[in-house]
């Protein structure tokens, strides 16, 4: 039988506010344990939460960016459960009335096809603390620095059909939250986390199968592996006559398997109710209009502009906008060679990303200022240097040895375009290799390359290649 998977994703994005969602504690990652907590975060009796306006602003910004309905009134609710890293015994979240309603995200698949994935909702909530289970003689250590960091939980519709689509959706979302500056997107540090709901059904059947939820997928690779494992596991269970149980599973990155964590029967009954400490959040149309008008250019818009205005290929544009820092780098570099977008892009995507990759650096750690890449391209265009020499200049720049013009000057790399000078050089070469010359003239055309090589070598690579070819051809024939 042919099977089809139905996948929905829940993403928890930590909002990059300076202070927590309901208190004035700091939110820096990696601080010493429990140094960024206060009476509100640890749930002391009698304290009252006060909502951070920046968290609300960022949630609305996200809603606007995905074309979602922003609810003019949203309500915080208590989600009740006991766990040591949740000091109050409840998490403040939103349940019936989330701040962001139905929206959508357009994703591009590997084969270039585009798909629209629905976003059911996005709501504000507080993060929990961290439990450390090692090294405490049978006890667990609790660090509450993370407790109260604002989260935006983004829930997709079950519109996704393959692990690859899931990854494309996540990457698009990950890129978007960084473009609109609401989340730093650092997956290793847990700023952007994903749970996957997966079920399978016979192809063509409308009714959904029973789904499982796999938690804590903190890299794109893990998401793909976990979903593929879960799809195969479920098909195998059903085909061998079994039944899928609704349950929560954990992904193990070492074995590439998911394992049952708890079943539906043990599942918590969260007994949500409106938090009496917090009044409803109201958002005005004026507020939404204002946020809309200050929204930065979104990845999809930027890509379109790169193709339409700068005449970049779709592939190039896609690569550039896939990372805001990379797109910014390209646009800064472009200023020095505004008419040559594709060439600047080729240098950025080809040479630069290659060199960064080799040095295990990312674009934000790039040793070459963007302006210098633009200047380098401008020097190729104005024929100061050849493309080949440009690579030498590039390598020198990458080692931090100055601007393109300084390097060209200091190393004497300026291209030789003086016809008389090249002719002189060619004459010398021809007299140096009389045998090859005779062979060439008797029909060994391949030797042309030999002469080009020798002449280039004599010019230390600085002869203008087109001119050199031209002159050589004429001289060899005479």
């Amino acid at each position: 039988m042919e099977w089809e998977a139905v996948i929905g994703l829940e993403v928890h994005a930590q909002l990059n506010t300076k202070s927590k969602i309901f208190s004035g504690s700091a939110t820096n990652y990696g601080a010493m344990p429990n140094t960024q907590i206060c009476d509100i975060d640890i749930g002391l009796p009698g304290v009252l939460p006060v909502l951070n306006m920046e968290a609300v602003h960022k949630a609305i910004t996200f809603g606007v960016a995905i074309g979602a309905q922003i609810n003019d009134q949203s309500v915080f609710a208590r989600k009740n459960y006991f766990y040591p890293d949740l000091p109050k015994g409840y998490q403040i979240s939103q349940f019936e009335l989330p701040i962001v309603g139905v929206g959508h995200l357009d994703i591009t698949l590997e084969d270039g096809r585009s798909r629209r994935i629905g976003v059911t909702r996005a709501h504000l909530e507080e993060d929990a603390g961290k439990s450390l289970h090692e090294d405490f003689q049978g006890l667990s250590g609790i660090d509450l620095n993370r407790a109260g960091i604002p989260l935006l939980e983004i829930v997709s519709e079950p519109d996704i059909r393959t692990a690859k689509e899931a990854v494309a959706y996540l990457k698009t979302l990950h890129n978007l939250v960084r473009y609109i500056n609401i989340c730093d997107g650092n997956m290793q540090e847990g700023s952007f986390r994903c749970d996957a709901n997966v079920s399978v059904r016979p192809k063509g059947q409308e009714k959904f199968g029973t789904r499982t939820e796999t938690k804590n997928l903190n890299s794109f690779r893990f998401v793909e592996r976990a979903i593929n494992y879960e799809i195969e596991r479920q098909i195998e269970v059903i085909e061998s006559g079994g039944v899928i149980m609704q349950e929560t599973r954990l992904f193990n990155a070492d074995t590439n398997e998911t394992k049952m964590m708890r079943s539906k029967e043990d599942a918590n009954d969260y007994r949500y109710f409106p938090d009496p400490d917090l009044l409803p959040v109201r958002v005005t149309a004026e507020q939404i209009r204002q946020i809309k008008s200050t929204l930065p250019e979104l990845p999809a818009e930027k890509q379109q502009r790169f193709v339409d205005d700068l005449h970049l290929s779709t592939d190039t544009a896609t690569t550039l906008v896939s990372n805001k820092a990379l797109a910014d780098y390209f646009e800064t570099g472009l200023k020095a060679a505004p008419e040559h977008g594709q060439l600047v892009a080729n240098w950025v995507i080809g040479e630069l990303l290659g060199a960064l990759n080799k040095a295990s650096l990312d674009i934000t750690q790039c040793p070459i200022p963007a302006e210098h890449i633009g200047t380098l391209v401008a020097r190729i265009i104005d024929k100061t240097i050849s493309t080949k020499i440009a690579k030498t200049v590039f390598e020198t720049m990458f080692n931090g040895e100055g601007t393109p013009d300084e390097i060209i000057e200091a190393k004497g790399l300026k291209q030789v375009t003086d016809t008389a000078e090249i002719e002189k050089m060619v004459d010398e070469i021809i007299t140096q290799f009389p045998e090859q010359l005779a062979d060439y003239r008797s029909g060994k055309d391949k030797l042309f390359g030999f002469f080009v090589g020798q002449a280039m070598k004599a010019s230390k690579g600085k002869a203008n290649p087109a001119q050199l070819n031209e002159i050589l051809k004429t001289k060899l024939q005479n």
């Binding site: 506010t17 300076k18 202070s19 208190s23 004035g24 504690s25 700091a26 010493m32 344990p33 429990n34 140094t35 960024q36 907590i37 206060c38 009476d39 640890i42 006060v50 909502l51 951070n52 306006m53 920046e54 968290a55 609300v56 009134q73 009740n80 006991f82 766990y83 040591p84 439990s131 450390l132 289970h133 405490f136 049978g138 006890l139 667990s140 250590g141 609790i142 660090d143 509450l144 964590m261 708890r262 918590n268 009954d269 007994r271 917090l278 009044l279 409803p280 959040v281 109201r282």
Partner: protein, 96 residues
Amino acid sequence: MAITNDEVKKIAQLAGLQVTEADIATYADNLSNILNLVGQMDNADTSEVKPMAHPFDNSARLRADVVSEQDQRDALLAIAPETESGLYLVPKVIEE
């Protein structure tokens, strides 16, 4: 409206309370009585009664995104029964 013994057990489990088998029937009885009292109130005709003052027409006061808290770890750890290396220590809980 009656609360069953099983519901008492479920509520106790969710609330993290230890209830002895002997007490369950009493709790079921008490909880049922409370619900019945609320049920009685439901029967009162309040269609002509104006609601008392309530805050629900107000909206949340928001605060600016400013770090206003200092590190007060020593004081906040001192009130806990057990700590180590700046962490609160609790009985081990790992969901299996």
